[in-house]
Symmetry: C2
Subunit: 191 residues, 2 copies
DNA sequence: CGGATAGAGTGAGATTTTCTATGCCTTGCA
DNA sequence: TGCAAGGCATAGAAAATCTCACTCTATCCG
């Protein structure tokens, strides 16, 4: 058995663009420029031999084929996400050690994370740091940053504060990207 | 909604290595060197934060986590393959135009593809060529080669002849990689 | 025991892929 | 008409990935 399908980056770009009906919005989600998304989608269309979007001056419109493709691709991504979550390193309820960017502190809820009962169950300690190396060395489980850094081979997820005034980014190994502990932090900061 | 999972190349390497229980065999399937597979898997393990294989001198052994991950990843790849097949360009039963490498002719079944009733229904014409450009320009639907060429953004699938004496490679757009017509060619050459 | 073989790991450098930066074109709207 | 937005093209920069050459360990034989 050998599987045959086009490049994942292309599929990711397509999936995000289709969901947002916009290259620009997709680019923002993926943390790249709209041009990159445009190129990825174009390559994908070429490699499939069909066109997935109609480009209108007002924006994008999925073609019939694109519309049929989207839900299936999304479903596959769901599976990968779930599978990845399931093999997360056995934390066994261990609390996380979280690094926080100096610049971020002013924008965090007052007394964070102490004031939050919810997070008490998930965070062991916080430290001032933006050093990704501490993740690789297992000194930190997660890093809260104030801007996107696009670390290779690490999950970086945007968190938009409830008031919309700030955006945070949480960096972890993929194995921890979807676990209960990480999710709790995201939920808490999203309010 | 935004999906979070590690690089597809890493997952592909893992999936193939796990299936074969060997980096070497996986490398052959993927058309790269064993070193590349080793690096991919290592990166994947690092980015998940767990180890997927135990490396023994005799070969590989999936860890518990690796064993749990494999079937789910395979399933996701299945979905992507199916989805890709389903959006294949509407051939509507159209027959394919196939390019054949000069060097290959001697190794094809005698009188191929004429003598095969099965292929009559799927092949319109064959032409001597190894020019991938003819695929991009839609002059050809598929190309039969005698060696791997690793074309970017095209599906390249190995076909091992029934007698095991020869290997062919069929190159198409991904949209045509799994369609009935292509499958018929693969089946016919595999006997 | 000694040599040959087989599979996996490493690191440097080459190659390929992907991204950014710019500028252009079209449309919609004040 | 002037301007903002969205998408597109292309060249060059940046990053990811692969190959190559070599090492290490274990196994298989004679």
């Amino acid at each position: 058995m050998t599987y045959r399908f086009p490049s994942l980056n292309g599929l990711k770009a397509f999936e995000a663009a289709a969901r947002h009906q916009s290259f620009k919005a997709a680019a923002a989600e993926l943390g790249v420029t709209p041009g990159a998304v445009s190129q990825q989608v174009k390559r994908l269309e070429a490699s499939l031999g069909i066109s997935l979007f109609r480009r209108l001056p007002q924006g994008l419109l999925l073609t019939r084929e694109g519309g049929a493709y989207l839900p299936k691709v999304s479903r596959a991504f769901d599976l990968l996400t779930d599978a990845t979550e399931a093999v997360a390193p056995a934390l066994n309820g261990r609390k996380l050690s979280v690094g926080i960017s100096e610049r971020l502190i002013a924008h965090l809820p007052k007394g964070w994370p102490r004031h939050s009962k919810a997070l008490d169950a998930y965070i062991r300690e916080t430290r001032i740091s933006e050093d990704v190396e501490l993740i690789w060395s297992n000194d930190l489980d997660a890093l809260l940053l104030d801007r996107q850094t696009r670390q290779a081979n690490l999950s970086e997820h945007e968190i938009v504060a409830g008031d919309g005034a700030h955006a945070f980014f949480i960096v972890t190994r993929y194995g921890l990207a979807n676990c209960r502990q990480t999710q709790a932090i995201i939920d808490e900061l999203s309010r």
